[in-house]
């Protein structure tokens, strides 16, 4: 078995040499030394050093665009599963519709998916989503799949290059929620190819040269047909 080249992998409690960088996400300090909080890879930028976990629960952040699933309906708001330990809330005033209190199911019923923006989130991880932005809507048709939240940036790629590649190669419409829910719509065969491609990116997210490999993957797929 040959392993693809990977970034430096660390485990919880591993000491992290920060050198001149500032420790940021996934690193804790103890007695002026720094340690990893996750099983993940070290990521260095010009200023910062982060640990990118292989898996971690999604925690709501303001302005994240997420895909949510309606779970429960109250008199004036919906409870929304945003693929997080914490449920989010959607108030009737934060929808594109004029909704009367008590008449919520006419617009969104349990099990419906929405594309929405986290408009409020606080210290204790309570959050509200809003659909009053362009592009935010109820998601009809299509399929929703799930990837691990930390893999989302890799699925999108630098400047969107990965997801654009998948979209154009499979002729599908795709919305990637920053919480790990991904909506895909198109011809069923194409949707399946897109799902496979996304799952492949998720599996290999921590490897080097992934965009090139995905390009080759699609080339081979076409050659085979």
């Amino acid at each position: 078995m040959k392993y693809l080249e990977t970034k430096e992998i660390v485990y919880p409690g591993d000491r992290i040499e920060i050198n001149d960088l500032r420790p940021r996400n996934g690193i804790y300090e103890d007695d002026s030394q720094y340690f990893s909080e996750y099983f993940g890879v070290i990521q260095k930028s010009e200023k910062f050093i982060d640990i990118a976990p292989f898996n971690s629960p999604y925690l709501p952040r303001v302005n994240d665009k997420v895909i949510g699933k309606i779970m429960d309906i109250g008199p004036t708001m919906w409870t929304v599963d945003i693929n997080s330990p914490y449920y989010s809330l959607l108030h009737i005033n934060d929808t594109p519709w004029h909704v009367n209190a008590g008449d919520l199911t006419r617009y969104l019923a349990a099990g419906d998916f929405i594309y929405a923006r986290i408009s409020v989130s606080n210290e204790i991880k309570e959050s509200w989503v809003s659909m009053r932005d362009t592009g935010m809507r109820k998601l009809e048709k299509g399929q929703v799949i799930l990837v691990k939240p930390p893999k989302v940036p890799r699925v999108i790629g630098k400047g969107g290059n990965m997801i654009n590649l998948i979209k154009s190669e499979t002729d599908t419409k795709i919305i990637v929620g920053q919480n790990g829910f991904i909506w895909i719509d198109g011809e069923p065969d194409n949707v399946n190819i897109a799902i496979n491609a996304i799952k492949m990116v998720e599996r290999e997210a921590h490897t080097v040269g992934l965009t090139d490999r995905m390009g080759e993957y699609f080339k081979k797929l076409k050659g085979g047909n």
């Binding site: 040959k2 693809l4 990977t6 409690g13 804790y28 099983f39 629960p57 914490y86 290999e204 490897t207």
Partner: protein
Amino acid sequence: MEGNVKLITDDGLRLDGRSSNEMRPIKLQTGVIEKADGSAYIEWGANKVVVAVYVREAYPKHAQNMDRAIVKARYSMAGFSVEERKRPGPDRRTMEISKVISEALSSAIILEKLPRAEVDVFIEVLQADAGTRIASLTASSVAIADAGVPMRDLVVGCTAGKAGGKIVLDLSKDEDNYGEADIPMAILPRTGKVVLLQIDGDVSPEEFDEATSMIVNAMKDISKIQRDALMKTYSIEGGE
């Protein structure tokens, strides 16, 4: 019954052929329960234990802690896991084990990162053969890391004890039943701090030292097994 069973043979070995500081083989695997946020399966000798971790808002709401997560481990034994059928459901022993495992895991998890949440750790012992609490804890900490819950360290557990007058590592069922003492212990390897420790039986302070240093020496191997298990989930075959 005690004393009738000879636990150390004439050549100084244990009944199952192990030397005093030899552990039973351990197999550990993550990602075994698809629905769970994190999971692990451990085989430690003949012990077989599955662990699934769910991270969610604590329920009911008034049970939520505004500044940190609550850890709730639930150790349970399948009816078929022991010689005579175990009646399902919690009993005094399983409730105590759940408590000490929850407490040990609470020291490893960075609880402040997940306010209001509950880290549910469901432990199912499918087959028990001495040392289940420590096998459960060792697997639980891997399952929690697999779930991506922020942690200070991976908790490592092991048991030592006294059998046939000798201090031995990782008690077998016979040694547990007929031996003189049982010492399950778990530490955070980075700091060497003890987060679980129980004794029952009869050991002198000197024997306690001998037993704990045996456990500490074994920790490195167990740590490696934990890391390898996590690594295996995420390493992928490349090329053709």
